[in-house]
C-alpha cells in the first residue's frame, strides 16, 4: 500500500520537519505563484537552485522525487505532441513533409515540464516533511480568519484528521473482507469484466455498511466525551512561529520578488 500513497510522510528530524506547518504551507503557496511568473530561463535557474537547496536540507533522495514524477511522463509526451502540432512560431527545426517542428514548440513544452517538475518537487517536500496532522492543524489555523465569513475551519480540520486516522483501519477492514469473500469463493484477480464487477460489489457493500456503523459508533464516542461541533474548545497542540519560520517566509517572498523583477526587466 505504501507506494500508492504519493508523497507519504517520512518521519525524519531535519530542519524542514521542524518548521511550523503554517509557514511551510504559506511558503509553498508563495513559491507556486513564483513558478508561474514568466521570468525566462534565469528565473527557472533561480527557482531550481532554491528548491534544490531545500531538497538537500530535507535529506530526501532526488530518486524519490523523480519517482513521484514518473506517472506524468505520458502526459508530457502528449503535451509535446500537442505543442508540435499547434505552435508554428520560432525557428523551423525539422521539416518532414506534413510535420514541421518549430523551436517555440519545444521551448513551450520544456517550460511547462519544468514548471510541473518544480511544483511536484515543492508539494512532495511539503507532504513528505510534514506530519499529516500538522498539515491539518496548519490548514485549520490558516483558515481561522475565514471563520467570520462562514468557513467551517475547525470542522474541515476535524474531518480531515478523522479521515487520516481511519485510513489504516479501513485498509485493514478491506483486507479482512476480501479474505472472507475469497474464502467464500469470490475471485478478485481473474474473470471477465462482469465477474470482476460482481466481485468488487461483494467487497464494497460490506465495506460501506461496516464504515457507516463505525461512523455511528465514533459519533457516539465523540459526543459522550463532550464534543459539540461548533462549540468553543481549546487545542492541545498549538503552533508558534519561531525565527526559522520567518526566515523561510521571507526567503520565499524574496524569491517571488526576484521572479517578478526578472519578468519585468529582462
Amino acid at each position: 500500500m505504501n507506494n500508492i500513497v504519493f508523497g507519504k510522510y517520512i518521519p525524519l528530524d531535519t530542519p524542514i520537519h521542524r518548521l511550523d506547518p503554517r509557514a511551510k504551507i504559506l511558503a509553498m503557496l508563495v513559491m507556486l505563484v513564483a513558478i508561474f511568473i514568466p521570468a525566462g530561463w534565469t528565473g527557472y535557474v533561480v527557482l531550481a537552485l532554491a528548491i534544490s537547496f531545500v531538497v538537500k536540507v530535507s535529506k530526501i533522495k532526488f530518486k524519490v522525487i523523480i519517482r513521484a514524477f514518473r506517472p506524468l511522463i505520458f502526459m508530457m509526451c502528449f503535451l509535446l505532441v500537442v505543442n508540435i502540432l499547434s505552435v508554428k512560431q520560432g525557428q523551423l527545426l525539422v521539416d518532414i513533409g506534413f510535420v514541421k517542428i518549430y523551436a517555440d514548440a519545444i521551448f513551450n513544452t520544456l517550460y511547462i515540464i519544468i514548471r510541473l517538475f518544480l511544483m511536484i518537487m515543492l508539494t512532495t517536500i511539503l507532504t513528505m516533511m510534514t506530519k499529516p496532522l500538522d498539515l491539518t492543524l496548519g490548514i485549520e489555523y490558516l483558515l481561522g480568519p475565514f471563520k467570520r465569513i462562514g468557513v467551517p475551519a475547525h470542522e474541515i480540520a476535524m474531518m480531515i484528521s478523522i479521515a487520516l486516522r481511519f485510513i489504516p483501519t479501513i485498509i485493514e477492514e478491506t483486507i479482512r473482507i476480501m479474505n472472507s469473500q475469497k474464502s467464500r469463493g469470490v475471485d478478485f484477480e481473474e474473470g471477465k469484466l462482469k465477474e470482476k464487477i460482481t466481485a468488487v460489489v461483494s467487497l464494497v457493500v460490506p465495506l460501506f455498511s461496516v464504515s457507516l456503523q463505525r461512523a455511528d459508533e465514533l459519533a457516539n464516542a465523540m459526543e459522550a466525551r463532550g464534543y459539540v461541533p461548533d462549540a468553543q474548545r481549546t487545542r492541545y497542540r498549538r503552533l508558534h512561529y519561531v525565527r526559522r519560520d520567518y526566515i523561510l517566509l521571507v526567503g520565499a517572498i524574496l524569491i517571488l520578488l526576484a521572479m517578478i523583477a526578472l519578468a519585468l526587466f529582462l
Binding site: 499529516p132 483501519t169 463505525r214 459508533e217 464516542a221 459522550a224 463532550g226 492541545y236
Partner: protein
C-alpha cells in the same frame, strides 16, 4: 461495605423508562432501578435484552420515550445534558471506534479540549491518567500499533481525565482476546479500589457480575431481577431460563446439593474448595 450501603445516595436512578428504536416495538418496557454511589454494579442480559440501550439512555446518547432518568439527583433532559455529561464517562465495546485522535497522547487530550481545559495543564493530566492505566510509555503510539486491550486502556484514561463520578463500561471487554480482557478487568478493579467512582458494567461475564456489589438482570426489555449477586444467582432455574449462565462455583454447589451434599454458596474458587473440605470432614 454492608454498613454504608443503603445510607449512601443513589447516583443513578432510572424510573419506569420506555424506549423504542422502531415504533410499536419497545426495546425497553418500563425499566426502573437505582445505582448507589461508589458501588460496582453489573447489568446482565442476553443479546437484545436492552442492556446497551440503558447505557446509551443514561449517558444521554438516546432519549427515552417516557420515564425519567436522574443522574446525581438531576433530571436528564436537553438542558441538563451538558452538565450531566461531565459527571459521566462511557467506555464502548469497539476499541477502534472510540479512538478519535492519531496518537495516545492526543486521544486523551480530546476530551480535555472539549471541556476547554487550559492546554498548558493538559500534559500533566494526560501523563497522570496514562500512568494510571499503565500506558505512560506508549503516549506517542498510533492506534494501529496498539492491541485491543491497550486501546481500551487509552479509552479508559481518556474518560478518567475528564474526572467523572460514574463510568459506564458497555461490554468494554467483549471484543478483546483473553489477555486483553484480564488487563481491562484488572484496570477496572483497581479504579474501583477506593470506591470514589461509581462503576456500571454492562457485561456477559458472569464471574465479573459475581464479584460486583449489585447485579441488575434485564430480560426482553424488562427488569428481571436486581440485588446482590449472591441472591441473584440463587435463582438457578430463572437465570438459566432467560438464557444466562450462573457462576461456576454456584453450579458446583447446585450439583452437590442434588447429590445430597449441602454446602454454602460461595463466590470464589478457593472458598468453594474450603467448603467442600469442610463438608467432607463433617461426613
Amino acid at each position: 461495605m454492608v454498613l454504608y450501603m443503603g445510607i449512601m445516595k443513589n447516583v443513578v436512578e432510572v424510573k419506569d423508562v420506555y424506549f423504542a428504536y422502531e415504533e410499536d416495538n419497545d426495546a425497553l418496557k418500563g425499566v426502573s432501578f437505582a445505582v448507589e454511589k461508589g458501588t460496582y454494579t453489573t447489568i446482565l442480559g442476553h443479546n437484545g435484552s436492552g442492556k446497551s440501550t440503558i447505557a446509551k439512555l443514561i449517558s444521554g446518547l438516546l432519549v427515552a420515550k417516557s420515564g425519567e432518568i436522574l443522574i446525581d439527583g438531576e433530571i436528564l433532559n436537553e438542558r441538563s445534558i451538558e452538565s450531566i455529561r461531565r459527571k459521566l464517562g462511557i467506555v464502548f465495546q469497539n476499541p477502534d471506534n472510540q479512538f478519535i485522535a492519531s496518537s495516545v497522547r492526543e486521544d486523551i487530550a480530546f476530551g480535555l479540549e472539549n471541556y476547554c481545559v487550559d492546554p498548558e495543564k493538559m500534559d500533566a493530566i494526560i501523563e497522570r491518567y496514562a500512568a494510571l492505566v499503565d500506558m505512560k510509555d506508549k503516549l506517542e503510539k498510533e492506534p494501529t500499533n496498539l492491541s485491543g486491550g491497550q486501546k481500551q486502556r487509552v479509552a479508559i484514561a481518556g474518560v478518567l481525565a475528564m474526572q467523572p463520578q460514574i463510568i459506564i463500561f458497555d461490554e468494554a471487554t467483549s471484543m478483546l482476546d483473553p489477555k486483553g480482557k484480564e488487563e481491562i478487568k484488572k484496570t477496572i478493579h483497581d479504579l474501583h479500589s477506593d470506591r470514589a467512582l461509581t462503576i456500571i458494567s454492562i457485561t456477559h461475564d458472569i464471574e465479573e457480575a459475581l464479584n460486583s456489589d449489585y447485579v441488575i438482570v434485564l430480560n426482553d426489555g424488562k427488569l428481571y431481577k436486581s440485588g446482590r449477586p449472591e441472591d441473584t444467582f440463587k435463582d438457578k432455574e430463572g437465570i438459566e431460563a432467560i438464557g444466562l449462565d450462573i457462576p461456576f462455583t454456584y453450579k458446583v454447589a447446585f450439583a452437590l446439593k442434588e447429590k445430597g451434599i449441602m454446602i454454602r454458596d460461595v463466590a470464589k474458587i478457593e472458598d468453594l474448595a474450603e467448603e467442600i473440605w469442610r463438608s467432607s470432614l463433617k461426613n
